[in-house]
């Protein structure tokens, strides 16, 4: 055992931290810290800075920009990015579609897409969920019928984050009907400019527009945009599960939020003490959250430092739920620093984000509180994760 970072790991952390603080513009880090949605060009700017240093896609194959860094180093990088309020490299690009294309795509696809994906020259969004296929993703219905050298695509995807900013969408589509609903699913890349593709906004309860519905009406997609083999889309999607486990617990993000709640509570008036941080109940909740964060940081490192498990790794379900719940608890704490001023700190609904920036540095907190509910819903709800833990790990309800 070696329970501390070793010297090389500590040096790497300093190097990363120094690079981030020196190179990512303050305006961008400030916006991330305040949890404001970033303009599209700022996100691209940040990712390109990271990519220039090899920080955007270190987990990719070396020929496509990857680095021979240990998982521990990659986890350190991910944590430093988050805790220093640097925008994460777009996950749809770097942890989802990039590795899929690298693993299953044709040489042509790799050359055409991978450099742009890494550098955010091409922005991908994810087309998995459908109105009737959420937790039960295998029930998806969007169809792609092969007609010569193209597919005719019909159907609807929902909850597609950033579809309105993206250039391309990667979709799970049904290319044939099979006995088991997991079969007959294929993996298709679709240019959002394709005629017949329409993106419509979904307004979120946090007052912003990040989510979209994407409608496909007889969209014609070149067959060369199929990734891998027809009918294997489900396997490719599952391949992603547990691939990039270095940042699953969101520990850097939770740390950033908890640092902020401690700071804000130290400034806010208290109920029984001079400051809210002196109020025992707030302090106790903050302290428990910090203790849980420390546990989560170690759980994250245990996952990272352990050899990848074939199939579902139980610890990733724990990381997912614990990480999400801690982000939610931190959002609760942030909200609870505000007192009556929660009402006027700023809420963008119906007005557009711009007007709120500058009014109050806390304007992002209420939005963050509402939007944080997503962490226990998207990407496999906490109920699904607990099903996995009880079934695959504890083997409950299965006679031995």
């Amino acid at each position: 055992m070696e329970l501390q970072f070793n010297e090389g790991e500590r040096a790497f952390r300093e190097e990363v931290r120094a690079f981030l603080l020196d190179n990512i513009p303050e305006r961008i880090r400030q916006a991330v810290y305040e949890e404001r949605p970033l303009p599209r060009d700022w996100m691209i700017e940040a990712q390109q800075i990271l990519n220039s240093a090899g920080y955007a896609v270190p987990h990719w194959p070396i020929e496509w920009g990857g680095r021979v860094w240990s998982p521990v180093k990659r986890a350190i990088l991910a944590q430093e990015i988050d805790r220093n309020s640097v925008p994460k490299p777009l996950p749809f690009n770097v942890t989802l579609i990039g590795p899929i294309i690298a693993a299953f795509g044709t040489e042509d696809q790799k050359q055409r897409f991978l450099p742009g994906i890494a550098n955010l020259d091409i922005w991908f969004c994810q087309g998995f969920s459908e109105p009737n296929a959420g937790s039960d993703l295998a029930s998806l219905k969007m169809s792609a019928i092969r007609e010569g050298d193209h597919y005719r695509v019909n159907g609807r995807k929902i909850w597609t984050t950033y579809a309105h900013e993206a250039d391309w969408i990667f979709c799970l589509v049904r290319t044939s009907r099979e006995e088991r609903k997991q079969q007959g699913i294929s993996f298709l890349l679709i240019d959002l400019e394709t005629p017949g593709v329409e993106v419509s906004p979904i307004q979120s309860i946090d007052g912003f527009h990040h989510l979209n519905e994407v409608q496909f009406d007889d969209a014609i997609v070149p067959a060369e945009n199929l990734v891998g083999e027809e009918g294997k889309g489900w396997d490719y999607a599952r391949y992603l599960l547990g691939q990039e486990r270095t940042s699953m617990g969101n520990v850097g993000f939770s740390r950033r939020r908890l640092e902020r709640s401690r700071a804000l509570a130290g400034e806010a008036a208290g109920e029984r003490s001079e400051t809210l941080l002196g109020d025992a109940d707030f302090l106790r909740r903050q302290t428990w959250a910090e203790i849980r964060l420390k546990a989560l940081e170690i759980t994250q490192m245990r996952v990272v430092a352990s050899a990848p498990v074939q199939g579902a790794d139980p610890k990733t379900s724990i990381l997912k739920t614990e990480g999400g719940e801690l982000l939610q608890e931190a959002a609760d704490l942030l909200l609870d620093t505000m007192g009556p001023e929660a009402l006027t700190a700023g809420f963008p609904a119906g007005i557009g984000p711009e007007e709120f920036y500058g009014i109050d540095e806390r304007s992002g907190i209420l939005s963050a509180y509402f939007s944080s509910r997503k962490y226990s819903i998207f990407g496999g709800s906490n109920e699904i994760q607990r099903n996995i833990l009880a079934g695959s790990v504890l083997r409950l309800g299965r006679k031995r």
């Binding site: 009737n132 609760d332 909200l335 009402l343 819903i377």
Partner: protein, 361 residues
Amino acid sequence: MNFDLSEDQVLLAEMVGRMLGDHAANDRRDPGAEWRDCLGQGLIALPFAEDQGGLGGGHEEVMLMMEAIGRNLSQTPYLQSVLLAGRVLALAGRMELGDLLDGAQRHCLCLYEPGQRYRWATPATRAERCAEGWSITGAKVSVPDLDDTCALIVPAATAEGLVLFLLPPGISGVTLDIRPAPDGRTAANVNFASVIVPVDAAIGDPAGNEALLAEALDGAVLASCAESIGAMERLLDLTVEYCNIREQFGAVIGSFQALQHRAADMLIAIERARSITIYAASMMDAPAARRSVAVSAARALVNRSSRFVGQQAIQLHGGIGLASECAAGAYFQRLTVLETLLGDTEHHVAAVERSGGLLAA
């Protein structure tokens, strides 16, 4: 003891429910129209004594009204203008109450100040006597439902003690910064720069104003509990409906035991909230200190229930719960605002603790 509604109360609840339900069924909510309907139906006059032009309704009637407001997500500023500002005018015996009751003027109470959380009794806003009467300087934050047509009631510290000032709309020196609140309503920060008012703008007796405000505030907090209960009940209904329709894995999700038990916990949380609110209602005629503790206990537990019910309603809805188009989100938002509106959980539990707890109550 008897917890049944009287016949008149049943009729009132039906009438209010129908009226606000009609407004809720409208795609485009119009708070102004709701307010006018409330005026027309005598609901603005409901809580005031008959000799002040009111209908003599008590806290129970007000709670029925507020539950309906919560259930229908009405945006009518009843809490602010009737139960807070109106109640202050009534307790101070001010004629201006008549303007509220006949619809000529809406009033708002400016309670909290920047960086002071819920400490309304010791305002930094100050008023000094001057030749014309008084000159007021300071700032208030987060006044719900305030617009530039409203008259303001502003507590300020003076050499004589806590004075409440009644300011007409549009008076010089007052600036409003009106912002959209997370519940689709608005709230305003207000600045007072040497605002000059005549002597008779000072309401009530400085020696009694803190008690007067406390009484109005306790009544409003109790009413806000009822609004939260109405909102939670409707939100649970919506959630159950959704769970009985939404299918995943070949079954309606309402058939999954984990979700069933979550919904049962929501039901339990709402019943707790209802019971503690009934307790507070039963203490409204008790001495002020005991009344305030009961009200704080109620708001604390209602807050706790609200957070749980709101968050879990979204969870059981899944992705759709995060979309504004789904009604659940708007209830969650309103419940969240109600948690912070007149004292948050920390504030109210601390008040119960300072009083020595509830075992003696």
